[in-house]
Point group: C2
Chain length 152, copies 2
Protein backbone atom coordinates (compact mmCIF):
# COMPACT_ATOMS: atom_id res chain seq x y z
CA UNK A 1 0.00 0.00 0.00
CA UNK A 2 2.94 2.25 0.71
CA UNK A 3 4.28 0.81 -2.50
CA UNK A 4 1.10 1.79 -4.28
CA UNK A 5 1.24 5.32 -2.94
CA UNK A 6 4.88 5.61 -3.89
CA UNK A 7 4.16 4.35 -7.33
CA UNK A 8 1.25 6.70 -7.89
CA UNK A 9 3.49 9.57 -6.81
CA UNK A 10 6.02 8.57 -9.47
CA UNK A 11 3.54 9.15 -12.28
CA UNK A 12 4.42 12.56 -13.61
CA UNK A 13 7.31 13.01 -11.19
CA UNK A 14 9.97 15.52 -12.17
CA UNK A 15 12.67 13.68 -10.23
CA UNK A 16 15.50 12.45 -12.42
CA UNK A 17 15.75 9.16 -10.60
CA UNK A 18 12.09 8.31 -11.28
CA UNK A 19 12.41 8.68 -15.04
CA UNK A 20 12.52 5.55 -17.17
CA UNK A 21 13.85 7.72 -19.98
CA UNK A 22 16.93 8.56 -17.91
CA UNK A 23 17.53 4.92 -16.97
CA UNK A 24 17.40 4.16 -20.67
CA UNK A 25 19.72 7.01 -21.63
CA UNK A 26 22.25 6.14 -18.93
CA UNK A 27 22.15 2.42 -19.72
CA UNK A 28 22.66 2.97 -23.43
CA UNK A 29 25.69 5.19 -22.89
CA UNK A 30 27.21 2.91 -20.27
CA UNK A 31 26.96 -0.03 -22.65
CA UNK A 32 28.61 1.80 -25.54
CA UNK A 33 31.34 2.94 -23.14
CA UNK A 34 31.89 -0.69 -22.22
CA UNK A 35 32.11 -1.60 -25.90
CA UNK A 36 34.62 1.12 -26.69
CA UNK A 37 37.91 -0.61 -25.75
CA UNK A 38 36.82 -3.89 -27.37
CA UNK A 39 35.83 -2.18 -30.60
CA UNK A 40 38.92 -0.01 -30.59
CA UNK A 41 40.92 -3.18 -31.20
CA UNK A 42 38.82 -3.74 -34.32
CA UNK A 43 39.21 -0.13 -35.39
CA UNK A 44 35.46 0.47 -35.09
CA UNK A 45 33.18 2.86 -33.25
CA UNK A 46 29.95 1.49 -31.85
CA UNK A 47 27.66 2.70 -34.68
CA UNK A 48 30.23 1.44 -37.19
CA UNK A 49 30.10 -1.95 -35.44
CA UNK A 50 26.31 -2.01 -35.85
CA UNK A 51 26.70 -1.34 -39.57
CA UNK A 52 29.22 -4.18 -39.79
CA UNK A 53 26.78 -6.52 -38.00
CA UNK A 54 24.26 -5.89 -40.77
CA UNK A 55 26.87 -6.42 -43.49
CA UNK A 56 28.20 -9.64 -41.94
CA UNK A 57 24.64 -10.95 -42.07
CA UNK A 58 23.71 -9.96 -45.62
CA UNK A 59 26.16 -8.73 -48.19
CA UNK A 60 25.16 -5.80 -50.40
CA UNK A 61 22.76 -3.47 -48.64
CA UNK A 62 21.61 -0.06 -49.78
CA UNK A 63 22.01 2.99 -47.57
CA UNK A 64 18.25 3.09 -47.32
CA UNK A 65 18.08 -0.54 -46.11
CA UNK A 66 20.81 0.16 -43.56
CA UNK A 67 18.80 3.13 -42.36
CA UNK A 68 15.72 0.97 -41.93
CA UNK A 69 17.63 -1.73 -40.06
CA UNK A 70 19.46 0.67 -37.73
CA UNK A 71 16.84 3.40 -37.61
CA UNK A 72 19.34 6.01 -38.71
CA UNK A 73 19.07 8.80 -41.30
CA UNK A 74 21.21 9.02 -44.41
CA UNK A 75 22.67 12.19 -42.89
CA UNK A 76 24.16 9.99 -40.17
CA UNK A 77 25.05 7.02 -42.37
CA UNK A 78 26.64 8.78 -45.33
CA UNK A 79 29.63 10.22 -43.41
CA UNK A 80 29.95 7.04 -41.31
CA UNK A 81 30.07 4.88 -44.45
CA UNK A 82 32.62 7.23 -45.94
CA UNK A 83 34.85 6.57 -42.92
CA UNK A 84 34.36 2.79 -43.18
CA UNK A 85 35.28 3.03 -46.86
CA UNK A 86 38.37 5.10 -46.04
CA UNK A 87 39.28 2.38 -43.50
CA UNK A 88 39.10 -0.21 -46.27
CA UNK A 89 36.28 -2.26 -44.75
CA UNK A 90 33.54 -1.56 -47.30
CA UNK A 91 33.02 -0.51 -50.91
CA UNK A 92 30.27 1.73 -52.27
CA UNK A 93 28.96 1.49 -55.79
CA UNK A 94 25.94 2.96 -57.53
CA UNK A 95 23.40 0.35 -58.55
CA UNK A 96 23.15 0.01 -62.32
CA UNK A 97 19.42 -0.72 -62.23
CA UNK A 98 18.70 2.36 -60.06
CA UNK A 99 21.36 5.02 -60.15
CA UNK A 100 19.88 6.74 -57.09
CA UNK A 101 20.73 3.78 -54.91
CA UNK A 102 24.17 2.93 -53.51
CA UNK A 103 25.11 -0.68 -52.77
CA UNK A 104 27.34 -1.20 -49.73
CA UNK A 105 29.54 -4.31 -49.84
CA UNK A 106 32.24 -5.74 -47.60
CA UNK A 107 35.82 -5.78 -48.78
CA UNK A 108 37.92 -8.84 -47.95
CA UNK A 109 39.27 -6.99 -44.91
CA UNK A 110 35.73 -6.18 -43.85
CA UNK A 111 34.64 -9.80 -44.19
CA UNK A 112 37.76 -11.01 -42.37
CA UNK A 113 37.04 -8.72 -39.42
CA UNK A 114 34.01 -10.87 -38.58
CA UNK A 115 36.18 -13.52 -36.95
CA UNK A 116 37.88 -10.97 -34.68
CA UNK A 117 34.44 -9.65 -33.74
CA UNK A 118 33.11 -13.06 -32.70
CA UNK A 119 34.18 -12.62 -29.07
CA UNK A 120 32.60 -9.18 -28.66
CA UNK A 121 28.93 -10.04 -28.03
CA UNK A 122 29.85 -12.70 -25.48
CA UNK A 123 32.16 -10.31 -23.62
CA UNK A 124 29.45 -7.66 -23.49
CA UNK A 125 26.79 -10.19 -22.51
CA UNK A 126 29.07 -11.25 -19.67
CA UNK A 127 29.58 -7.63 -18.56
CA UNK A 128 25.85 -6.93 -18.61
CA UNK A 129 25.45 -9.71 -16.10
CA UNK A 130 21.77 -10.41 -16.75
CA UNK A 131 20.32 -13.90 -16.58
CA UNK A 132 18.99 -15.25 -19.89
CA UNK A 133 15.47 -14.57 -18.63
CA UNK A 134 16.30 -10.99 -17.66
CA UNK A 135 18.01 -10.47 -21.01
CA UNK A 136 14.93 -11.73 -22.84
CA UNK A 137 12.61 -9.60 -20.71
CA UNK A 138 14.70 -6.50 -21.27
CA UNK A 139 14.78 -7.04 -25.03
CA UNK A 140 11.03 -7.61 -25.08
CA UNK A 141 10.24 -4.48 -23.10
CA UNK A 142 12.67 -2.30 -25.07
CA UNK A 143 11.21 -3.44 -28.39
CA UNK A 144 7.69 -2.90 -27.10
CA UNK A 145 8.60 0.57 -25.87
CA UNK A 146 10.31 1.45 -29.16
CA UNK A 147 7.32 0.26 -31.17
CA UNK A 148 4.90 2.24 -28.98
CA UNK A 149 6.95 5.42 -28.99
CA UNK A 150 7.61 5.25 -32.73
CA UNK A 151 4.00 4.71 -33.85
CA UNK A 152 1.53 7.44 -34.91
Amino acid sequence: MDQGAHHAAEQGSLLLQDQLCFALYAASRSVTTRYRPLLEELGLTYPQYLVMLVLWDRDSVSVRELGTALQLESSTLSPLLKRLEAGGLIRRERRSDDERSVAIRLTQDGADLREKARAVPLAIGEAMGLTPEQDATAKHLLRLLTANVTRD
Copy 2:
Protein backbone atom coordinates in the same frame (compact mmCIF):
# COMPACT_ATOMS: atom_id res chain seq x y z
CA MET B 1 13.20 -27.07 -26.17
CA ASP B 2 13.13 -25.33 -29.49
CA GLN B 3 13.07 -22.20 -27.39
CA GLY B 4 16.09 -23.42 -25.48
CA ALA B 5 17.97 -24.20 -28.67
CA HIS B 6 17.04 -20.86 -30.10
CA HIS B 7 18.15 -19.13 -26.97
CA ALA B 8 21.46 -20.95 -26.80
CA ALA B 9 22.08 -20.00 -30.41
CA GLU B 10 21.56 -16.36 -29.51
CA GLN B 11 24.46 -16.37 -27.08
CA GLY B 12 27.31 -14.80 -28.98
CA SER B 13 25.18 -14.25 -32.07
CA LEU B 14 26.39 -11.61 -34.50
CA LEU B 15 22.87 -10.87 -35.74
CA LEU B 16 21.79 -7.31 -35.10
CA GLN B 17 18.30 -8.32 -34.09
CA ASP B 18 19.59 -10.61 -31.33
CA GLN B 19 21.60 -7.88 -29.61
CA LEU B 20 20.25 -6.38 -26.41
CA CYS B 21 22.68 -3.52 -26.92
CA PHE B 22 20.95 -2.58 -30.16
CA ALA B 23 17.48 -2.75 -28.61
CA LEU B 24 18.81 -0.39 -25.96
CA TYR B 25 20.42 1.97 -28.45
CA ALA B 26 17.32 2.09 -30.65
CA ALA B 27 14.96 2.55 -27.70
CA SER B 28 16.99 5.38 -26.24
CA ARG B 29 17.08 7.29 -29.51
CA SER B 30 13.40 6.71 -30.23
CA VAL B 31 12.48 8.11 -26.81
CA THR B 32 14.56 11.26 -27.21
CA THR B 33 13.04 11.73 -30.67
CA ARG B 34 9.62 11.53 -29.06
CA TYR B 35 10.68 14.13 -26.49
CA ARG B 36 12.01 16.54 -29.09
CA PRO B 37 8.82 18.40 -30.09
CA LEU B 38 7.64 18.64 -26.47
CA LEU B 39 10.96 20.02 -25.29
CA GLU B 40 11.24 22.34 -28.25
CA GLU B 41 8.28 24.26 -26.80
CA LEU B 42 10.35 24.74 -23.64
CA GLY B 43 13.41 25.74 -25.62
CA LEU B 44 15.35 22.71 -24.33
CA THR B 45 17.20 19.77 -25.82
CA TYR B 46 16.89 16.41 -24.10
CA PRO B 47 20.21 16.58 -22.18
CA GLN B 48 19.39 20.16 -21.20
CA TYR B 49 16.04 18.92 -19.88
CA LEU B 50 17.84 16.33 -17.74
CA VAL B 51 20.04 19.08 -16.28
CA MET B 52 16.93 21.12 -15.51
CA LEU B 53 15.34 18.10 -13.76
CA VAL B 54 18.30 18.03 -11.38
CA LEU B 55 18.13 21.79 -10.78
CA TRP B 56 14.38 21.77 -10.18
CA ASP B 57 15.01 19.19 -7.47
CA ARG B 58 17.94 20.83 -5.70
CA ASP B 59 19.07 24.38 -6.26
CA SER B 60 22.79 25.06 -6.48
CA VAL B 61 24.69 22.09 -7.84
CA SER B 62 28.33 21.97 -8.88
CA VAL B 63 29.32 20.81 -12.36
CA ARG B 64 30.91 17.82 -10.71
CA GLU B 65 27.67 16.90 -8.90
CA LEU B 66 25.74 17.27 -12.13
CA GLY B 67 28.23 14.96 -13.78
CA THR B 68 27.74 12.37 -11.07
CA ALA B 69 23.95 12.58 -11.27
CA LEU B 70 23.79 12.42 -15.08
CA GLN B 71 26.92 10.36 -15.67
CA LEU B 72 28.33 12.96 -18.01
CA GLU B 73 31.81 14.46 -18.29
CA SER B 74 32.60 18.12 -17.72
CA SER B 75 33.58 18.21 -21.38
CA THR B 76 29.94 17.55 -22.20
CA LEU B 77 28.42 19.66 -19.43
CA SER B 78 30.52 22.82 -19.73
CA PRO B 79 29.34 23.79 -23.22
CA LEU B 80 25.77 22.65 -22.46
CA LEU B 81 25.66 24.82 -19.33
CA LYS B 82 27.05 27.72 -21.29
CA ARG B 83 24.08 27.40 -23.66
CA LEU B 84 21.60 27.22 -20.77
CA GLU B 85 23.20 30.33 -19.31
CA ALA B 86 23.00 32.11 -22.67
CA GLY B 87 19.32 31.14 -22.73
CA GLY B 88 18.83 32.83 -19.37
CA LEU B 89 17.76 29.69 -17.48
CA ILE B 90 20.77 29.32 -15.14
CA ARG B 91 23.59 31.31 -13.58
CA ARG B 92 27.14 30.11 -12.95
CA GLU B 93 29.31 31.45 -10.17
CA ARG B 94 32.60 30.32 -8.68
CA ARG B 95 32.26 29.11 -5.12
CA SER B 96 33.97 31.42 -2.67
CA ASP B 97 35.02 28.56 -0.38
CA ASP B 98 36.54 26.57 -3.26
CA GLU B 99 37.43 28.60 -6.30
CA ARG B 100 37.83 25.46 -8.41
CA SER B 101 34.14 24.67 -8.11
CA VAL B 102 31.32 26.33 -10.05
CA ALA B 103 27.84 26.57 -8.52
CA ILE B 104 24.96 26.24 -10.97
CA ARG B 105 21.73 27.98 -9.93
CA LEU B 106 18.37 28.54 -11.57
CA THR B 107 17.35 32.03 -12.63
CA GLN B 108 13.72 33.04 -12.12
CA ASP B 109 13.01 32.05 -15.73
CA GLY B 110 14.63 28.67 -15.12
CA ALA B 111 12.56 28.10 -11.98
CA ASP B 112 9.39 29.24 -13.75
CA LEU B 113 9.94 26.77 -16.58
CA ARG B 114 9.23 23.95 -14.13
CA GLU B 115 5.49 24.51 -14.37
CA LYS B 116 5.52 24.29 -18.16
CA ALA B 117 7.55 21.06 -17.88
CA ARG B 118 5.05 19.38 -15.57
CA ALA B 119 3.10 17.80 -18.43
CA VAL B 120 6.17 16.32 -20.15
CA PRO B 121 6.81 13.15 -18.12
CA LEU B 122 3.15 12.15 -18.26
CA ALA B 123 3.01 12.66 -22.02
CA ILE B 124 6.10 10.54 -22.51
CA GLY B 125 4.89 7.89 -20.07
CA GLU B 126 1.70 7.73 -22.10
CA ALA B 127 3.63 7.39 -25.38
CA MET B 128 5.80 4.60 -23.97
CA GLY B 129 2.62 2.66 -23.32
CA LEU B 130 4.03 0.31 -20.68
CA THR B 131 1.95 -0.90 -17.76
CA PRO B 132 3.16 0.31 -14.34
CA GLU B 133 4.59 -3.17 -13.77
CA GLN B 134 6.44 -3.18 -17.09
CA ASP B 135 7.74 0.31 -16.39
CA ALA B 136 9.05 -0.78 -12.99
CA THR B 137 10.60 -3.95 -14.44
CA ALA B 138 12.29 -2.00 -17.22
CA LYS B 139 13.73 0.55 -14.79
CA HIS B 140 14.96 -2.23 -12.51
CA LEU B 141 16.66 -4.15 -15.32
CA LEU B 142 18.21 -1.03 -16.85
CA ARG B 143 19.64 0.07 -13.50
CA LEU B 144 20.96 -3.42 -12.83
CA LEU B 145 22.53 -3.56 -16.28
CA THR B 146 24.08 -0.11 -15.87
CA ALA B 147 25.49 -1.01 -12.45
CA ASN B 148 26.95 -4.27 -13.78
CA VAL B 149 28.44 -2.74 -16.91
CA THR B 150 29.89 0.22 -15.02
CA ARG B 151 31.63 -1.70 -12.26
CA ASP B 152 35.29 -2.85 -12.31
